[in-house]
Amino acid sequence: MHLSDRVTGTILIVLGALAFWGGSLLPAVPGQNVGPAAFPMVIGGGLMICGALIAIGIGRSFEAPGPERSEAPPGLASRIGGLAAALPPLLLIFYVLVAERLGFLPTAAIILLVTALALGAGWRLAVGVALIGPPAVHVVFHNLLRVPLPAGILPAPW
């Protein structure tokens, strides 16, 4: 997701202004002239200045040229382009939403299968990863490190 400097600069100005304003609303500590408001207000001010400088293009001459685009990636990304990048964060949210009910093993298997396929793996490799990965991770984290991974509908037999 490439945005122009004008857009990122404006986002920073808005964010800085919000931080400054939000900071100024914080209650002061009685009998003390500096409280929780000072730091966010200083940062908010700094962000607004930086945002303005970025928006008008100062400092661009320092930037190293970005890497040239390589050939098209395989798998999912070749079909939906840059949107494929949204997959990992969406899968993490998916984990948070369903792991408790569905259980760790099935949820993890779904995540592995989808990611492997999206990266261009064949069905054989993707299914293999999805079958071997979750039990291995489960043994290390649940049995060795005693992390309470959700059992859900498919509790691990060990």
């Binding site: 929780p36 966010p40 908010g44 930086c50 948070v96 990611t115």
Partner: protein, 497 residues
């Protein structure tokens, strides 16, 4: 002497030995796989360190990062793809050697000088850190404020990007630490009514998101590396002693540059390698040979990136200021294990510090035999398809961050920071500066507000003590430096010679 013995007994346990061996193998493999960085390897290790003794925990981080920085050279030399960013500076050179049929020279130099550089870095850390600790004992909140500020400014100076974007990234990191009730007033700040935000944003989910998830996101939008060609390798270490004698000066220069760059906040092994490679070329008697498979630059930058690792621990243990992204993670582990960074660490926990130095040296010695094994088996390791490694990393991101507090909200944070890191990187904002801001934010605010309360809101006392005046001058100079460079360029353009 007593402390030395005590330190020795701390590391001479089965737990530490197993931790070092296991993390060494782990670091070697992760470092060798393109797209998986040393920082990512370290971040994913943190959940495991929860369950280890303090010294074993620190040992895993030191060992894994040292091994990963070396083994990043392997795919660089064999496939012209750096395994970690720290190898990027001399990948072309190493690959040129391979094309000339001297792959073993390139890999051997990478291994040998990595280990030597790492040992030099450890010795430098051993000498520098306690000496500086004496001085740091007299620091007040004013000095600490300037020191943290200077650290943030350094990170913006060395970033290979616009200094203004780097400052903005650092400020964003500081703003993130404003969230929660850990502030001078103890009031909920920027929590928007979410109880999960009351405790603030934890550093580890942020790091895992920025360094691991955004890397997987990048993998989904880029082509996989080509398969590794089949090649028989000769003896790895033969000829390295001759190289050491021939390029003695280059090696020492690389070591010193590595430690210094590593100690600068925000600049880590990758920056050290770039600077050392450029130095090597500038001072070389035969600069025309660079880029055609000439080992001179490899010697200098290969030693520099491993020396930088230890250099990064100097400000980390002394002040809690991360020297690079790896120590940014290590600081969290230090706090967790009761080894709070600060000058008193060297007096009160002296034996732990000695143990830390020893682990550094052991790890770098162990690197040589393990490295040879890794190089010999690299053909098989590197054949592991990205489509199999990346999904497992994603799963580990979720489970690892959950393991720390058994809180699913941490996984949401990982996702959010993954997106943030990805978008920032794409738009030229250095994520290292953001991480530095997140790691240092609470301390910056604490020292800033305490100083302001002490001075009754006046700014003059910030400059009155001699050391703080020097630090303030350096900070302001660092802040104005880009403006100066910009003006200079303008003047030169106006008067074309």
């Amino acid at each position: 002497m007593n402390t030395l013995l005590e330190a020795f007994s701390m590391i001479a346990t089965t737990e530490v030995a197993v931790a070092i061996l296991a993390s060494a193998v782990y670091g070697m493999v992760i470092g060798a796989l393109p797209g998986l960085t040393a920082t990512m390897a370290t971040a994913l290790l943190v959940p495991i360190t929860f369950y280890l003794s303090p010294i074993a925990a620190i040992a895993t981080i030191i060992t894994a990062s040292a091994m990963a920085i070396f083994s990043g050279d392997i795919p660089g030399a064999l496939m012209r793809i750096p395994g970690t960013p720290a190898s990027a500076a001399y990948t072309d050179e190493a690959y040129a050697l391979t094309r000339k049929g001297q792959a073993e020279v390139a890999l051997g130099a990478a291994l040998w000088f990595s280990a030597l550089g790492g040992i030099f870095g450890a010795v430098a850390l051993m000498i520098l850190a306690p000496a500086l600790a004496e001085m740091a004992l007299s620091f007040s909140t004013y000095e600490y404020f300037w020191l943290f500020f200077l650290g943030l400014m350094c990170a913006t100076l060395v970033a290979r990007s616009s200094p203004i974007k780097a400052i903005a990234a650092a400020l964003l990191g500081l703003l993130i630490t404003c969230i929660g009730i850990q502030n001078p007033g103890g009031v909920p700040r920027f929590t928007f009514g979410f109880t999960d935000l009351l405790g603030g944003i934890e550093v580890l989910p942020a790091l895992v998101g920025v360094f691991a998830v955004s890397e997987i996101m990048r993998a989904l939008t880029s082509a996989p590396p080509p398969p590794i060609p089949n090649r028989r390798l000769g003896s790895i270490l033969s000829g390295q002693w001759a190289l050491t004698r021939r390029y003695k000066k280059q090696m020492w220069r690389g070591n010193v540059v590595g430690v210094l760059v590593g100690a600068l906040p925000g600049a880590g092994a990758d920056m050290a390698a770039w600077i050392a490679y450029a130095n090597s070329r500038r001072f070389s008697k035969e600069p025309e040979k660079f880029g055609t498979g000439h080992p001179e630059g490899l010697v200098e930058s290969g030693s520099a990136n491993n020396a930088a690792l230890a250099g990064g621990w100097v400000p980390a243990t002394l002040f809690g200021i991360p020297g690079d992204t790896i120590t940014a993670i290590a600081i969290g582990v230090l706090y967790m294990k009761g080894l709070n960074p600060g000058p008193t660490l060297f007096t009160e926990k002296a034996s732990s510090m000695y143990a830390l130095y020893m682990v550094f040296i052991i790890a770098n010695i162990l690197m040589i035999p393990l490295g040879i094994v890794m190089i010999r088996t690299s053909r098989h390791v590197l054949r592991a398809p990205r489509a199999a490694a990346m999904p497992i990393i994603l799963l580990l991101c979720a489970v690892g961050t959950f393991a720390i507090g058994n809180n699913p909200f941490a996984i949401v944070l990982v996702a959010v920071f993954g997106v943030l890191g990805f978008v920032m990187e794409r738009n030229g904002f250095p994520v290292a500066a953001l991480v530095l801001g997140i790691v240092m934010g609470t301390m910056v605010e604490h020292n800033f507000v305490t100083s302001l309360i002490k001075s009754d809101g006046e700014l003059l006392p910030f400059f009155e003590r001699p050391v703080s005046a020097v630090l303030a001058t350096m900070t302001i100079a660092a802040l104005l430096w880009p403006v100066f460079v910009w003006l200079l360029r303008r003047l030169r353009q106006a008067r074309p010679a």
